[in-house]
């Protein structure tokens, strides 16, 4: 290859590269200005876990230990005792080690009453790890702060202004709408 050809090749290559890069100049920048603008996460996004209470403040969790069994990372610790009056169990201890959690949402899949849910609060960085050892109050608090959450049984649920829990409109729901729009009582058995 002669010198002239080489020079031409180089000029052409630089030109092509510059033109390609230049095209992008006129595109909208994709930058999200994160600390100022919070990202718009899809409702099913698994960023943290929460334990939802019923509207009247009673416990939704029936302490069936399904989530503890399903957890791959084995971060859920539950202790329970039999309810002296009535049936079922009462919670003594419900800890999720959010430090070691792998956020796979297997517990949420396993939960028969959609008590344990995924929320989108990803801003959990901390100076002290002990703040992430979540006990039941922490998990309830997570749920109270959350505007919306997701569980496979009930789909996306919203917390309204006056504290009620509602099913989100269909456009917010993930796939499989037909199952989700069934009344809640049928699933809860």
């Amino acid at each position: 290859m002669s010198l002239l050809q080489e020079v031409w090749q180089a000029v052409k290559a630089i030109g092509t590269g510059m033109a390609t890069v230049h095209k992008r100049v006129y595109e909208d920048a994709p930058t999200e200005f994160y600390p100022y603008v919070k990202p718009d996460l899809p409702p099913v996004s698994v960023q943290s876990l929460a334990l939802v209470e019923n509207e009247d403040g009673s416990e939704r969790c029936i302490v069936c230990l399904q989530c503890e069994r399903a957890c791959p990372a084995q971060v859920i610790t539950i202790e329970r005792h039999r309810n002296p009056e009535g049936k079922g169990f009462l919670i003594d201890r419900f800890d999720i080690d959010l430090v070691n959690c792998m956020y796979c949402a297997a517990c949420v899949e396993a939960c028969p009453v959609s008590s344990i849910v995924t929320i989108q609060d990803f801003e959990m960085s901390t100076y002290d790890l002990q703040t992430l050892k979540a006990d039941i109050d922490f998990l309830h608090e997570q749920a109270r702060r959350a505007r919306q959450w997701y569980s496979p049984k009930f789909g996306v649920e919203l917390r309204t202004e006056d504290g009620r829990i509602e099913k989100a409109p269909p456009e917010m729901q993930p796939g499989g709408l037909a199952e989700l729009l069934k009344p809640a009582e049928e699933v809860d058995s």
């Binding site: 090749q9 180089a10 290559a13 092509t16 590269g17 033109a19 390609t20 890069v21 095209k23 992008r24 994709p30 996460l41 899809p42 099913v44 996004s45 698994v46 399903a70 957890c71 791959p72 990372a73 792998m102 956020y103 796979c104 949402a105 297997a106 899949e109 995924t118 997701y150 496979p152 993930p174 796939g175 499989g176 709408l177």
Partner: protein, 375 residues
Amino acid sequence: MSTMSLEPVRGRTDEMIVNMGPQHPATHGVLRVVLGLEGERITRAVPHIGYLHRNHEKIEEARSYPQVIAYTDRMDYVSGTQNELPFVLAVEDMLGIEVPDRAKKIRTMFFELYRLASHLVWMGTAMLDLGAISPFLYTFWDREIILGIVEKTAGARMLPNYYTFGGVRRDVHPDFFKDTADFLDHMERRMVDYEHLVLESPVVHARTIGVGVLSKERAIARGVSGPVLRASGVAYDVRKAFPYDAYPDVEFEIPTSPDGDTYARFWVRFQEMYQSIRILRQLVELTPKTGPHKGKAPARIKPPAGERYRAVENSRGELGVLVVSDGTDKPYRVKHRGAAFSNLQIVPDLFVGAKFSDSIAILSSLDPVFGEIDR
């Protein structure tokens, strides 16, 4: 140090021992290579791995079958759900679980989306190693779109734990097919740019053509698979050879190149991206919009005693898993055959005789991912 098996030869002063890694910006993770150099030429190369050994195989013996899926995700972390599939297929074979047609197609769509994402990461980092920064910015930009599509359905960006025995965990988002189709339009436009920036760049030509040539026979004997094998002229692709999921239903080609050099490996990955786009185009049309996303699977997964090896073609090659069951709900042994593990074995073959600066280009053309190599 005893791990440094490459002692300087007594009495030779012309050979220099250079340690590369585990913290090196161009080793794609925590690879350590000890190189013997004569001037610019590499005379010896000894790769040391294991800096990311996370006892996957031991810990998976102590987990039940559904729990293992979440762990397999963490192997080849660049290509997400692709790791889950061989394990899921193997257990489905052992149990005889039927997978609905639609679930197969959804799985394949995710598989190919992650292949695109993985090759985009490869392109960005490989070009970063060769000194170009813009491709990194562009490819990660496009990768974010893929991860956005995945997250909308599966709930996580990188490691979604989405496949399950008999199908997928949840139905796709109603916008999934439209999003994917839009992304493919976008990607086709972008591929033109990438060709300009990568394949047609004379800098890339100068750094890659004729560098690190791997012959066909050597590649097969070394157990190399995936784009590295196909760049040496062997048309072996698990998707065609042992078809799984929806691959029998779609048309695609296996791009091969007879050259076997670093440029050929770059070129084959590019062609694979075109084939992925083609597969996804067909699947967007073919996949039924409604229907079951999951077949009937037993509540407790307890495969009968026996063993099963299944392999898939992930972004790096043949990713296989040997599942040995003893009839309980925990696998007796899970042995992962990492494609990158086999591919990395040819590092000494390719490095010796190359120039020191070429080693970076060769290594990035192998595209190692250390989660899968060290497990």
